[in-house]
Point group: C2
Amino acid sequence: MIKLYGMPLSPFARKVLLVLDYKELEYENIPTFPADESPEFRAISPLGKVPVLDHDGFILPDTSVISRYLDRIAPEKSLYPEDPKLEATACWLEEYADSKLIENCAGLFRQRLINPKFFNEPTDEEVVQSILTEGMPQCLDYLESVTPESGYLVGDSLSIADIAVTTCFIQARYGGFDVDSAVAPKLRNYLDRAFAAPLVVKRLESEKAVVNAIAPDLL
Amino acid sequence: MIKLYGMPLSPFARKVLLVLDYKELEYENIPTFPADESPEFRAISPLGKVPVLDHDGFILPDTSVISRYLDRIAPEKSLYPEDPKLEATACWLEEYADSKLIENCAGLFRQRLINPKFFNEPTDEEVVQSILTEGMPQCLDYLESVTPESGYLVGDSLSIADIAVTTCFIQARYGGFDVDSAVAPKLRNYLDRAFAAPLVVKRLESEKAVVNAIAPDLL
């Protein structure tokens, strides 16, 4: 039995949920906040982060480690290219998405959705402006430079890079941000393809109830 | 031709240098500071971090991605256990070392060695105390709970977990910290074994000149 501790709207939980869905693995998602201070949660998450995987009692934190583990136990349709250079490129883009890109995407999500709609706190417009004028343009520049005209980000099938980058831009959309096709045309086309994929459509569908509860007018 | 951009005393560069040595790969280490603002370096390191690998023009940042790539192109004596659970455990410990543990070990290195001996700045004793009384004890508790009585951290041969954890404690030693065997006996024994391994002895030997240049009385 696979259990995943994490909030459905967390970009990191979503990353693993996309892997689980893609691998057609059965699982239970146990909604858990990263700030959960219960001894039970701290024991399974030494860094206090979500998500955490529990596979029949085998506890595993960290989305990159969890994703590869799931790929190892369900190796059909591998998310890691066979060629070492392609595999490394996919894993590097995953790392870029999980660190630099998510910082900006989650910042917009936090400031424009969670702060006003969930915490009843004002949006910090300075933070938003800094993301929109500095952080995000850097990310778009870089990603545009590595995005192909068609197909997947790396190689000729879905890889962990696609899943990691897509989950970030889902977060950005909730934060009212979409990639301008005049700024990053290849990336914008790529994201249009990614958002139309049944895997992503299904995931967004399952997030609707939570999003609607927070911001009924968003979707 | 393999080139590694990074400072020899950076714990992250050392991690990759240990992998290169273990794999008996030929390489050139090009000393580079993470603060390097040259367009050449920023172009190959989108996150502005070291180390960065250049393998015949194939550029790869991030130590975890680089290490796995090197293991893929030189698969003998793999640093990634074959069993999925053991592999995941090794990669999780690598992640723990690369984030939480290094934060504390590098903090001591910075405060006690680099600040006074290299930047001619005072040691921030508050930071040191916070590491010694909070950050480090948490790490030692956790690591002690996962360290075996004998052998390697995970499985029955050297893995990426051993390399990642060992490079952190080399940093801590330069920062005047060693694990108290009364506090974490299994970890202390493990580190005694790790530091006695020819791979580590050789690496420490090659770092001596730089360390001596910074702090002639340290070693």
